[in-house]
Every structure is written in C-alpha cells, then in structure tokens.
C-alpha cells in the first residue's frame, strides 16, 4: 500500500479519532492515544512491511470463537495483510490499546471509519480489549505479558522456515512487572532470536496509577540488556529518534525500543486526572464539556457535538 499521509498526520488523526470516540462515549482510552500515537503511526505508516488487507474494510460481526465446529474461523490479522514469508507480523501486546490500534488502521486506510463505530458494541468483532478476531489482531493479548513470548516462538519458527519477515511487538511498560516478559527476553537471547523487534510505550502509567506508586520497576533498560536484549531508549514523540532507534544493530539479540512518552501529550487537560489515566470516564457534564473544549483546541478541531 502507498503511504497517503505523513506519519505526523497519521498520529494526529489517531488522536482526533480516539478523542472523538471518547467524547461521544463519555470516556475511553485517551491517555494511550497521547502516549502511543507516534509509535503506532510509525509502525503502520513506515516500518512494517505488510501486504494489502485481506478482510473487508467494514469489519464483519463476531463469528464465533475457535472450535472444531467453526471451520471458517479466522483472526483479525487480515487487516495487516496476508501471512507471507516476506511480510512482517505485529502483535499489540497490551490489548487495552485496541482503540488506538483501530484508529491507526483507519488512518492508514486498512479499515473503514465505520469500524470504530462498532467498538465495544454487542455482537461486534471490534472489541474493547482486542481479541484474536478483532481488526489487526492475530492472538489474544488481553492477559498482559504473553505477547513477547508468542512473538519469540513465532519468530523462532519463522527463522526455521527461512522467512525474511520480522515479528514486531508493540508493548507497554507495565508488562515488565510480569515475570514472563523476562523469561521471553532470556529465551530470545539464548536462542539468538534477533527477528523479534519491540517498541514499548514507556508512559510510566498503569491501571492503579503511576507505576512508581504501584510497583517500582527500576532501570528497565539495564535490566533488558542484562537479560540479553539490545535496548535503546528514546523520546517516543520524536519520530526521527524512533526511526534511528529501529536501525540499532542487534545481531543475535531481540531489539527493544523504549519509547519514553508523556501520557498527556497533545491533551494537556488530561493531567487533571493524573494519576488515574488508564481509562478516563468523565465524572460530570461540566468536566466533559471542559475536556471537549480543551482537547479540541489542542488537536485543532471543533469540539465534538456528542449530543447527536
């Protein structure tokens, strides 16, 4: 697919769509759009080598879970194009970023805007916590910390098959609290799996609040390096820094890019809700109105007419 927009424009478009959705629905994963928009925009608009989508622009409804009696089951990976040796794969490891990931698919022309209207609607495949069958998803990652291991296994298998494509993982920093993340890194290092690439949204936030107050994780760059990964830390809102980071040499090791981000980036009024940013639901009509006016101004759009 040809790039239609600059990556900056894709990132802005993601935030506008997530903002509009949150205003209409009286809440949403706003902060994740603030921190992660550049990373997802860069992945889809520049870095990932993907084929054209194989699934309809307007997502089909939920068609059942995998079972022997559901032979036509398929995942949502078709929005990332076909599974072929030369193409990259992407796992959204924190499936709670699904709203932001769906907005990204729309901005890069892989899903119709109608898809976002189906978000979290009963009977829809566009689920709130991205499921295997949700657009752009290939595995269940709602249980945090399993994404990197799955990518490691897939990448190991693809290497045996001689595939040229890489296996990318979009990660969240809260996942470093899970032991499995470290098991996955050591396994990649032990087996020299260097086709695993991860970019981690290091926004220092988790469900209960600031990570430092929930469970201090310390110097994760050094920890990743000690477990055998190549690790580079950059400003996650600086696209040229992200581009350079992805070129870091990592022979025989997985590459983990720590994208340091601001959870209120481009939506400054969100700081009022710190440290509870995981899911922002407006507490009053007054608050909703103030956020609407403020964020709309930040993003250069008119306030959302959510009454209609």
């Amino acid at each position: 697919m040809q790039n239609q927009k600059t990556t900056e424009d894709v990132a802005l478009g993601i935030r506008r769509r997530v903002f509009e959705h949150a205003m209409r629905n009286n809440g949403g994963y706003l902060s994740q759009a603030c921190s992660a928009a550049e990373q997802l925009a860069w992945l889809y608009n520049e870095e990932l080598k993907l084929g054209d989508p194989t699934l309809p622009m307007i997502p089909k409804p939920f068609e059942g879970v995998p079972s022997p009696s559901n032979p036509d089951y398929h995942t949502g990976a078709g929005y990332n194009g076909p599974v072929e040796p030369q193409f990259d794969r992407l796992f959204i490891a924190p499936a709670h970023y699904a709203l932001v990931a769906y907005a990204t698919l729309i901005e890069v022309g892989r899903m119709a805007p109608e898809g976002l209207e189906m978000f979290n609607q009963d009977g829809s495949s566009v689920e709130m916590i991205g499921a295997e069958h949700s657009p752009g998803m290939e595995v269940h990652n709602g249980t945090l910390g399993i994404g990197l291991s799955t990518a490691a296994g897939l990448a190991y298998g693809r290497r045996r098959c001689g595939d040229k494509g890489r296996t990318w993982v979009f990660m969240s920093d809260g996942e470093v609290q899970e032991g499995q993340t470290w098991e996955a890194v050591q396994a990649c290092a032990h087996h020299g799996i260097d086709t695993v690439m991860a970019i981690m949204d290091v926004n220092d936030q988790q469900c209960d609040g600031a990570m430092s107050s929930v469970m201090e994780v310390g110097d994760i760059k050094t920890k990743f390096e000690n477990f055998g990964a190549a690790c580079i830390e950059i400003d996650g809102h600086d696209l040229s820094a992200i581009r350079d980071a992805a070129r870091t040499s990592h022979v025989g090791k997985p590459l983990i890019i720590l994208a340091r981000t601001n959870p209120f980036h481009t939506m400054s009024i969100l700081e009022e809700r710190f440290p509870r940013l995981h899911y922002v639901r407006f507490k009053s009509e007054d608050e909703r109105t103030r956020f609407n006016t403020s964020i709309a101004a930040d993003l250069g759009v008119d306030p959302i007419d959510y009454a209609h």
């Binding site: 995998p66 399993i146 291991s149 296994g153 298998g157």
Partner: protein, 334 residues
Amino acid sequence: MVEMVSRPYASAFEKFAAGNPDILCLSADLTSSCEIDGFRDRHPDQFVSLGMAEQNMMSFAGGLGLAGFRPFIHTFGVFMYRRPYDQLMASIAYPRRKVRLMGFLPGVTTPGGMTHQSIEDISVMRSIPNMTILETGDATEVESICEAADSIDGPVWCRVLRGSVPRLFDTPIKVGEMRELSQGDDILVVTSGICTEEAMRARAALAAAGLSIRHLHLHTIKPFDAKALLDHIGSVKHGVVTLENHVTEGGIGSLVAETMADAGIGKRLIRLGLKDTYAHGGSRPYLMRYYGLDALALVRGIEDLMGECYNITEDDLAEARFDDVHSLVKAEAL
C-alpha cells in the same frame, strides 16, 4: 508374568519425531527425566531448550504453532498447567494450536509430593474448550501416544508413564475408543492409567468370589464416547465402580457420573480415587495403598456396591510390582 518395558517413551518419541521437520521437541530442564535426552543428543536441531520458565514456554509453543509447527512439550505434568495456566489457555487452547502436552508423573507416580503430583489435571483439562485428553496405562499406549496425539487437530493433554512400564495391551491407542478388558454382567469397572493394572490384579479374586466383572480401560478421556459407555452400563446388573489416579472430582469418576446422570441411569456408582485430598511423598505402591487407589481398594469398593464382604485379602490378589525408587531407568528418584 507381565512384560516390563524400559523407557518406552524414549524410543517411541525418537522413532516418531526424528526427521519430521514440523515437529519440535521442547523441554524445560527435565530432559532426561522425561526420557528425551537421547533425542536431544542425536537430533539437536529439533530440540528446543526453554529452561525452567514454563510461562514463556507455553506462549512460545503457541507462537511455534502459529508458525505451522507441532511442538511436543515435555515436562512433569504438574508444571504444565498450574503455574502457566493462563498461558495454556490464551496461547494454546483458545487458538487450537497443535501443541502436544506431554505430562510426565501423573498423579501419585512420583514420590515428589504435592508439588510434583498432578492430581487434578484431568479435571482442569476437561473444562478447557478445544482440549483433547489422552492417558497412557501401559507400555503399548506409551509407545503409541505420540502418533495418537499428533493425529489431533488441536491441543492434546497426555498423561505419560516413564521408566519401567508394564505391557498390558497389544494394540495401539485408537483415539476416541475404549478398551473392553473383560465382559462380565454383574458390575462395570472403569479405570484409566496405572489403575487399570490394579483392577487386573483383582480380576482372579473377584471371579473366585463369583462376581462377573465388565472392565473398561479409558485412554481417551476427551472427547468421550458416551453412548459406548451407556451400552456397557446397560449390560451389567448392579452398578459401576471407577478407579483413577486422580481426585474423584472432575476425572473419570465424574465423567461416568455425568454420563449416567445425563442419560437418567439409576444404577449405583462408586467413585474411587483421591478423595478431596492432596497426597504426600512416598513410593507408588505405598501411596496407592494409603490413598485407596490399588487393587484392594477396588475390591472394597465393589463390596460397598454389593453390600457384601467377600473376604478377599492382599494374599488373594496378583502380586504388585515394586519398582526400585532408585531404579536405573529413572534420571532421579522422583
């Protein structure tokens, strides 16, 4: 005298897997304990050491499945579902990956105590959608478990016996079927795994007491042929006794109970196995006696069902095999 086969899994797995590029042998630091050390040494390209890190191993195996491989995971059964249950669910069972979960040391076949004894795995696996469950009861079944498991389009949980294993059967596992070991019409005895040999030990004494026993051995626990079981239940006068190397909740005792209840069968059922208890560490014959999983426990269960005492004692039963805890065919005393 029953034939004993040394390390049947070791040779069976190597014969089945070696040279098949789609099969990978995964191990979690229990390679010789799971009898795949020879395979590792002779086929290192198909061997993937994942260390003592089962959570990663389960999701890694899911990723291998996504890449088109059929991983055979080898570790003690208990380590494959208790800690990494979430990964088993999300990375293997839900997406129906063709992962073959080779669980060694089922139930009380280890003196390792609570942490090593998988006493509720069948109950757990039966409640997981998409999961198939196979259990080996003799050397022939161990020898055929790889082919049986690999014939399944989805994940398979296998209870595998190791070390010195008796040969009771001369035909391989046929997935979905059950073995009819005797055709009596008084009582139906249903067993699986190592308990089948126990029931066979009691056969002569029960016959001498005038009881006609119909004996079924289950190697396929899920999917399960309920109709075949109901036909057998319909063929006996008095009722059913189950005996399993597992807690009586959720295992084959429950399976039989559910099948009977669903069909409205009014016959009595005695479920023998671990009765809502953990076990502790000890030799297999000791544990089977202590927890009521052996031939004598089956006799007592049948007496309970019949409301009679047949005066059968240990001396009337075929001799129990007593494996040396420090046998050379085992990597360690576990």
